[in-house]
Symmetry: C2
Subunit: 408 residues, 2 copies
């Protein structure tokens, strides 16, 4: 049961001029499941992406990195079922075969296709099933295919994830629409499992590459379910340039800020949707850390709290066993942290200061703020002006059940 997460409707995901999407059942790992998605981009579209830093990065991630560098991307192919990670040379061949098949179908070069895979690691990808399925995807291509695509990229997700915004950029109406998937093996490092956001805004390639990093740092790079950075994390931002706005080329321009805010809003909704639908999640937790010397240490404290199985199980139990949060803060790797200066709040309740329990703290207040499905943890480190946020979920019986059963 996702936490306060309404699935998108077909109408809520606005088409983006220059983008068409089609899905099919390719039988990649199991039958009767939409498991293959083709996204076709109009000529002149620009694409930038951030990809996983896991050293066992998947074959499609390696191919994406090459193809993104050469530019002029015209299509994306996304399969579920098999991650094509930990598959060595045969995996690379399968990813390249996927690109070649899509390229032939669309009359473009293989280097103009980006491949994405998600599913089980270390099992071979049946590239021939993808090739056989692609014509079905092409036949299904449509501008309002975002809703279908959001469903076709799901694995252990319980609901589809999509978000959409319309904003005015320099007097021109611009659309930003995106989809994402992921529920476990979620601690993105440069991107989440799979996130695709497109806009029809015109923006220069260098600025698009800056934008995708800025947005990732404020969205997908702030969430974690279980601390396991995936082998396949990919976040791709597409700008088709068909809205008709004057091309954005200056990071200091108001138009850039407007577009960045819209893309960030969409990306953050998609990233938070992954946490709200985290495997077994019953709570959505925002961890806001301030007073740090650097943003990095704020996020390190946020992740130390978010990854502690003891903290996560206490949230699941709604038990204000808040000393566990202090223990996690103390483990965040800040060697010169002065715990006398640290303050901890749960919701609006001051829990700890001066190295211990706050004099004003009452256990019944802690119990009260632990109950809702949405909880905010605030930490002030008392050593600077930097801040950072992390979003996570709790740790329940169902996480174990899902991950003990997955694959079987």
């Amino acid at each position: 049961m996702p936490v306060n997460l309404a699935p998108p409707t077909a109408e809520s995901l606005h088409p983006v001029a220059g983008v068409r999407l089609g899905v099919t059942e390719a039988g990649i790992r199991k039958a009767n499941r939409r498991d293959l998605t083709l996204i076709e981009l109009a000529p002149g579209s620009r694409v930038a992406g951030v990809l996983t830093q896991n050293r066992y990065c998947a074959a499609p991630v390696q191919v994406c990195r090459q193809h993104l560098a050469s530019g002029d991307i015209r299509a994306l192919v996304i399969n579920t079922g098999i991650a094509n990670a930990g598959t060595g040379e045969p995996g690379l061949a399968a990813a390249n075969a996927t690109c070649a098949a899509a390229a032939q179908l669309l009359g473009v070069d293989a280097a103009q296709v980006l491949p994405f895979s998600t599913g089980v690691i270390m099992e071979p990808l049946p590239a021939e099933r993808i090739a056989a399925g692609l014509p079905g995807c092409r036949a299904a291509l449509k501008a309002d295919g975002w809703f279908d695509a959001a469903h076709a990229i799901m694995t252990t997700d319980t609901v589809a994830k999509g978000a959409s915004q319309k904003v005015g950029v320099g007097g021109t109406a611009v659309t930003v629409t995106g989809i994402s998937k992921g529920a476990g093996m979620i601690k993105p490092n440069m991107a989440t499992m799979l996130g695709f956001v497109a806009t029809d805004a015109a923006i220069s390639q260098p600025l698009l590459e800056r934008l995708v990093k800025e947005v990732a740092d404020e969205s997908f790079n702030c969430v974690t379910v279980d601390g396991d950075t995936s082998t396949n994390d990919s976040f791709v931002l597409i700008a088709t340039g068909q809205a008709g706005n004057a091309e954005i080329t200056d990071a200091a321009a108001a138009d850039y800020a407007t577009l960045r805010d819209a893309v960030t809003t969409v990306a953050r909704q998609l990233a938070q949707a992954i946490v709200r639908d985290g495997e077994g999640a019953t709570k959505f937790i925002e961890i806001a850390v301030s007073g740090g010397a650097t943003k990095e240490e704020c996020k390190a404290v946020g992740y130390a709290i978010a990854h502690s199985p003891l903290v996560k199980t206490a949230f699941f139990a709604s038990d204000p066993n808040l000393g566990r949060i202090l223990g996690a803060i103390g483990n965040a790797g800040i060697g010169d942290l002065d715990v006398e200066k640290v303050k901890l709040w749960l919701g609006d309740v001051l829990v700890s200061e001066n190295g211990g329990r706050a004099a004003s703290y009452q256990e019944e207040d802690g119990a009260r703020v632990m109950k809702p499905a949405e909880i905010t943890v605030r930490v002030d480190l008392g050593r600077g002006a930097a801040q950072g946020k992390v979003w996570t979920c709790d740790f329940s019986y169902d996480y174990v059940k899902i991950n003990a059963d997955y694959r079987s």
Copy 2:
């Protein structure tokens, strides 16, 4: 249900000349529970310890650090129920009051007493109950009190943990006996929750301090249950010098090696006992990493595997979903790891090489070696001669149950 862990018997824990132990029910957090232990050391005993590096280190850990530095320790006081961590100045006062009470009772200085606490974090320690309980401990002091003490220091442990060895050092019979506790919040960094080992061997103070670090690195610093380094980790090594051997003063001497091996054997049994009794554990897993550039990176890979909730739940399910192990290796923070050179074995089965699944690997072999209660994971990083080991357990429904229920 601990994994292949027989509890010690009263007879299996040999007395150590110069050490007496006594326990009582002090009612520290709950009634009718042996929760207070006093260990009395004969004059001339030497003590060295390694303590947690958590920045929220407990008040007793701070006091231990001071008292160990001044030397001439004559007593240890250990309470369960309350960890006296995250308790600020009042916590320090309570730890000092505990030392003062024991000192008065035994006719020594407060600085000659080491305090240890384990239990719930951020709740006040009732020092007056400890003071009231100490006379009962003193009345119960006996040389063969190790068995009782092993029970009195338990918290969420399901069985008591103790180990004992007799070895010849320079022709003299020497005894090494130890006890430990801990089942959750276990990822020691310099020591485990609580481990106490005593020997009657004579060894110089500088060498004892070297020995405790060497032993910790090969025992308590190799285990993890949930990755949460505790606020109270303490491992203390006592040498009473009453065996009659010539004092060991040279780290290159054969006697030092003999004693180190005996102490390491006892400490490793105690450390592994904590994992075998890990919260909810159904499997005991040894992760042996070789071929690293440094021992540190070998252990980093071991811990990345041992801490991955996805790997741990796959072990619980006996599901050879071994790509998750590759994912964890890729996340261990070795930026220049060449996965083409990495090899992975489960038991005697080669699972992965050349960046992907080994050609010889059969899923039924993986399923076979996943079944037993004891599993060995071997990783060769292919980049050097260093090696390191980590011991851990799996992640089951019961871990969530225990930690969602604990305290309530």
